[in-house]
Amino acid sequence: MNLEFSAESLEIRDQGRRFLAGQTCLPKVRAALDGGGIDNAALWQGIVAQGWTGAAIPEEYGGHGIGYEALCVIAEELGRSLAPVPFASTAFLAAEALMLAGSEEQKEAWLPKLASGEATGTFALSEGPGAIAPGAVKARFADGRLSGTKWPVPDGDTADIAIVAARDADGRIVQVLVDLGAEGVTRGTLDTLDPSRPQARLDFDGAPAQVLQSNEDPWETVLSLLDRAAILTAFEEVGGAQACLDMATAYAKERMAFGRPIGSNQAIKHKLADVFVALELARSNAYMGALGLTSGERDLTLAAATARVSSIQAFTLAASENIQTHGGIGFTWEADPQLYYRRAGALALTNGTLGFWKDRLVTALERRDAA
């Protein structure tokens, strides 16, 4: 039995934590919130220098091939620090999509750039409000050209490439690769709950695009991509929830009311114990997800969905109760709890909602029992 990260991964995690702690991430997040844009060039260079962008990309494509354990611990630290970088869109989505379904040529063209941090990427699925479903994909791909509108697209304002879900001339779902610098692409930034993780509106008007090869049903590939991203997003949420619990616990120990620390009140103690329980459930389920990713199991839907259901619940609860523990100061603009609350709110709608993952979890159970 070994449900723990390797010593190497733990070292990457600790190093990452130290690195991010020195990067003043929260002030950068706050600046984004204040409308000052995101000043993350140095941070991104540091992340690249840590080797994170290439962690899970094989060496043959310019990556470090360290593997998914490393990506999981990195995700946790990014979640903990709220680092405002286009890492998730690039590493969890664009690189994964290429590795899952890209042609040799496509991989060679883009993976080395994503690995080296020279380029960033994203995955464009949503077309406005609504659930993730094949029926919601309306963008059209024909004769090597893509038309339609995708929003919100994570980090779509700065990404160099996007993998886009669309329909071909026969109405079948396809995934296509688009160079966002090409003609026929218009980008707009959207106001969102969490401006430190920008979301864009991408209008495609006959933009040049290439189909991704896929051995299976492209919609199944989309779902596989979401499964893999779910595990990494779960680690982000676990990291964020842990930060909230740490922050709330520290505050509860030092803030005095009625002559004693507020943390001596059962109302606070039990609230934070409940957050701890939710967090440990989420962390434990995320570990099983990591095991699924690293063991290269073919069907990791159940582990992914389970991890994500728990992590959305944990981060949502932790972020909300962190504010509550802080009392009045907790809901001010200047205090940090709101930064986590916004991130929790946005992540809960990223790469599938709680409802999406609950349904997918049960689908996986049915598949398991039918097997």
């Binding site: 009045g328 907790g330 999406f356």
Partner: protein, 410 residues
Amino acid sequence: MDLEDTKAEAEYRAKVRAFLDAHAEKRVRGAAPAPSRGIDAEALTRAKAWQAKKAEAGFAGIRWPEEWGGQGGGPIEEVIYTQEEAKYTVPRGVFEIGLGMCLPTMIAYATKEQLERYTGPALRGEEVWCQLFSEPASGSDLAGLRTRAVRDGDEWVINGQKIWTSGAHLSDYGILLTRTDPTVPKHKGLTMFFIDMHAPGVEVRPIHQMSGASHFNEVFFTDLRVPDAHRLGAVGDGWRVALTTLMNERLAVGDEPRPDVEDLIAFLEEFEIDGVPAIRTPVVRDRLADIYARSAGVKSARFRAITALSRGETPGPEASIGRLVNAMKQQEIARLALELMGAGGMVSDPETALRAGSFQQSLLAAPGQRIAGGTSEILRNIIAERVLGLPGDPRVDKDVPFQDIGRGRS
């Protein structure tokens, strides 16, 4: 049982409606709520004008004694007025605390001359009042406040800081709770004053909330000098005076935060999932029923409280559940709507987001609802102790001189 007015109530309601119809716009049902980010100068001017109109028509100070320009009415009249006014788009949020809490405290403790000076302008909306109680180190623990007032001849010199003061930035006057004796137990060394918010030594800084709104302020006092004649109640008796103020908190009759359950229903009937209105899908129905039952319960509990008022009785404990239930509900309503919107739910721009971004706005405002004006934990304690009669929390600060009570960071 019925939900009808008594004859007298019906007559009063008719008068209120006639006034409102003549002077205000009716709210459109089902319309998305307008975001409330705070009150600017222009909104203040409108609010003052509206208050003047109310005063002229006899709808200001409904429960005040006639001697001071009030209507000498009962709580039921006030409820009726508030119910009706809620159906119109009129400026709110400026005069409630002053007329509802500060001036009634003045009426109980100030001199006749002072009341002749201050009640009229307050009633006509010419002067705005605020209540300066909470401090950074004493939120739930109000009596733990530290703002010091030191006597200097006929004056008091005041230094310290208040926080969460609604409307301080709009206010001309305020009632201020201070500590005049730190050597006695904390409830015993407090004294109340009223102050001129424009006096030197008063500095107001708005607090920016996470929702983007600015309803509250910090207020700093630096060597503020207040004449002893502006003291309310005896020296050391401030806690009792403050309880008078707090007991005037009026029965909440229509202040459910929006988007409320009806906004949610409207959204669920119009938003489609796979071509089917969301309200037709089973999980949504399950959640909606839960939320609706609680909303309806709060509303019916309010009807029961109003029934008591209508009979001249004091409402029972059922009146206390609304704040607690609504605070949780607001977050659930927002999350349910956003969850259905999926990734698109992140977008908060009112131009792009469904229902003008009101659910996104509400998600950000909801945590404040569980805190402002008494945290959910404090409200549960109040229910447990005052309604169920359970014992108080163990106290370590009860009989200790204030200056010896343990303190952490402020």
